[in-house]
């Protein structure tokens, strides 16, 4: 191989698919299980063609039984397999949450370390497609409350592919949340993919005046905000958290120590969301660095309405982020 890294242009959806295919090729213990992952090709087409390559045992369509098939995944993981359970969307994961919280997250501890659960659960998350209140939850930050699980939120094509691999190497349960608006997004990817680090947040754009801390689909709003702010001479640093549990405190505090101001952007409901946790940690760990109170831009606290204008009003908007930053920063020059 040549020394230079070849990159390919692809979509987030295809990156997920590549990650899945590579995982099944690499390790005979890995299999994909969930509703419509096989014959339908995945409700977001993320497993298209996989049934043909890997067969119905390893690309396993399940009945509509979220609670049981999640539990089956836990059992199979304890039995030596490396299951990837796909719960179609986070909305339906509420039916399976007992198995996630009461079994997957606790068995290692309850058994005093005897049995670990090397299970990966993937699900689509997020709003923005006018799917209304029961199909628009953003609960990844909520899941991050639970000790015993790791919560990943890939925002880029590289992470969509690579995090799956890293997650499969984890001896403990990992939840991966894919924001459904990202699937069609295009991006660059190294051709020779490797496992990506999942322990660290990443500075996606450097800046001096304010830290915009975010993850998932909101990353792109944050980057657009930074662009807009740059025109006004405000340097915004944009941090992609990448992992919501455990949070990368070091990266967060490093950025805040540099900019002295922080805005957290997430699509979950404001009260008790991941933004609250980040705000609380900044207060605890970097209070005396702050030149202004930490601010949050989150979704309105309302079940997501169907109508487009109402949904847009409910979600964090670029203008709101810009206004929030401007409210706390005095522009240079």
């Amino acid at each position: 191989m040549s020394g230079e890294t070849k990159t390919i242009r692809t979509t987030y959806r295809e990156a997920v698919r590549m990650g899945l295919c590579e995982a099944l090729r690499r390790d005979g213990r890995v299999f994909l299980m969930g509703e419509d992952v096989g014959r339908y090709g995945g409700c977001y087409a993320a497993s298209k063609g996989m049934l043909e390559e890997f067969g119905p045992e390893r690309v396993r369509d399940t009945p509509l039984s979220e609670l049981a098939f999640t539990g089956v995944g836990i059992g199979a993981a304890m039995g030596g397999m490396r299951p990837i359970v796909e719960i179609m969307t986070v909305n339906f994961s509420l039916l399976a949450i007992d198995q996630i919280v009461n079994n997957a997250a606790t068995i290692l501890h309850m058994s005093g370390g005897l049995f670990n659960v090397p299970l990966v659960i993937r699900m689509a998350t997020g709003a923005g497609r006018q799917l209304a209140a029961q199909h628009a939850h953003s609960l990844e930050g909520w899941y991050a409350h639970i000790p015993g699980i790791r919560v990943l939120v890939p925002a880029t094509c590289e992470d969509a592919r690579g995090m799956l691999r890293t997650a499969l190497e984890d001896p403990d349960p990992v939840l991966i949340f894919e924001n459904q608006t990202l699937y069609p997004m295009e991006g660059e990817l190294r051709a020779d993919a490797e496992a990506v680090d999942i322990d660290h947040a990443r500075v996606m754009r450097a800046g001096e005046d304010v830290s915009i801390i975010t993850y998932g689909a909101s990353l792109y709003k944050a980057l657009a905000t930074a662009e807009t702010l740059a025109a006004d001479g405000i340097g915004a640093e944009v941090l992609d958290l990448r992992t919501l549990r455990p949070l990368d405190d070091t990266a967060i505090m490093a950025s805040v120590a540099k900019t002295h101001r922080a805005v957290i952007v997430d699509e979950g409901w404001r009260s008790g969301g991941i933004s609250a946790e980040i705000s609380a940690r900044i207060t605890e760990q970097a209070f005396y660095e702050l030149d202004a109170p930490v601010a949050r831009v989150c979704s309105a606290e309302v079940p997501m309405p169907y109508a487009r204008h109402l949904e847009e009003a409910a979600l964090p908007r670029l203008e709101t982020i810009v206004a929030t930053v401007k409210g706390m920063v005095h522009p240079h020059g």
Partner: protein
């Protein structure tokens, strides 16, 4: 399938009424598909085309004060129940004039006057609600029934099992109507159910059950009447499996890789609308002119619904957080 009766003598006006209702659902939804492609309707859109005989056949037995609990594939239920097509269409447009002020969309049609309790986008999510509505009736000494629609896919959900058991145990006046269209999204029933004869599942809960040809509106009607008699008699719930088929994709995103064109074509031969039309023609209760005039009146009704939706307004953004809690004056 049980209880398939000798075909009854023709009842012209009644059957023409059934035909009109089925046609209304069909044409309404064809229009929805069109409107979706020009993004007037957005989000998810699940069409009922092919399954019209089920809702139309069942609704004839639904008394004015009975309750109905539905799914995300509910336009057929809503229209057959008598909700104004304009209100339904406006809802899909996201209009203030929609039956839920644009907050619900296609998957969440609600209506107070007809006691239509949604439109539920969680598969199986409405089943215990129906049992609860029935419990309220029982505890308040009311004679009305609750009708609960769900698909074959929902039968795999734990909540189906829990709710059937509770409804039977407490002898609740619910009719469980399972619309078995052989697929849950892209998963054929043989990959989802160890026992594909769904009606047989009633036995595990001591619930009287039957399966009926869901492409034959008259057979469905007769079965719904039997269900009504059983349930109104205080004998607890009834489980009615209607064997049907959806002619269109699961939703507007579905590429239908999981079934063959041939299979769809075979089922289209059993189109419930063609079926009833032929019967009426055979009995000389309908001729081409009559059909054309029926189609004309349906087309007008659909056009009026679209016009109503088009002419609607948007809910003010200031009202975004309304209906998170009840307006306290309503309390």
């Amino acid at each position: 399938m049980t209880n398939k009766q000798v075909r009854p003598a023709i009842d012209r006006d009644h059957e023409l009424g059934l035909l009109r209702q089925m046609l209304l659902i069909r044409r309404f939804e064809e229009k929805c598909a069109e409107l979706y492609s020009v993004t007037k309707i957005r989000g998810f859109l699940h069409l009922y085309i092919g399954e019209e005989a089920v809702s139309v056949g069942v609704m004839g037995s639904v008394a004015p004060d009975d309750g109905v609990v539905s799914t995300y594939r509910e336009h057929g239920h809503a229209l057959a129940r008598g909700i104004a097509p304009g209100a339904v269409m406006a809802e899909m447009y996201g209009r203030h004039e929609g039956c839920c002020r644009g907050r619900g969309g296609s998957m969440h049609i609600f209506d107070a006057a007809t006691r239509f309790y949604g439109g539920n986008a969680i598969v199986g999510g409405g089943i215990p609600l129906a049992a609860g509505l029935a419990l309220a009736d029982r505890m308040q000494g009311r004679q009305r029934l609750t009708w609960c629609f769900f698909g074959d896919g929902a039968v795999a959900e734990g909540v189906f099992h829990e709710s059937m058991n509770i409804a039977s145990l407490w002898r609740l006046p619910v009719v469980f109507v399972c619309e078995n269209n052989l697929y849950a999204m892209g998963t054929a029933i043989r990959y989802a159910q160890a026992v594909t004869d769904l009606a047989s599942k009633g036995a595990g809960y001591a619930v009287a059950s039957e399966a009926v040809d869901g492409m034959d509106v008259l057979a469905v009607e007769a079965a719904a009447r039997r269900a009504t008699e059983q349930v109104r008699g205080g004998n607890g719930p009834y489980f009615l499996e209607c064997r049907t088929y959806r002619f269109r994709a699961h939703s507007m995103f579905d590429t239908e890789q999981y079934r063959t064109k041939d299979e769809v074509e075979e089922w289209r031969k059993r189109d419930p609308i063609t079926f009833l039309t032929s019967r009426l023609k055979e009995h000389e209760a309908l001729d081409d002119a009559g059909l054309a005039s029926l189609e004309g009146s349906v087309a007008e009704e659909v056009a009026a619904a679209v016009a109503f939706a088009e002419g609607g307004s948007w809910e003010p953004v200031e009202e975004l957080t309304r209906f998170v809690c009840s307006d306290r004056s309503n309390g």
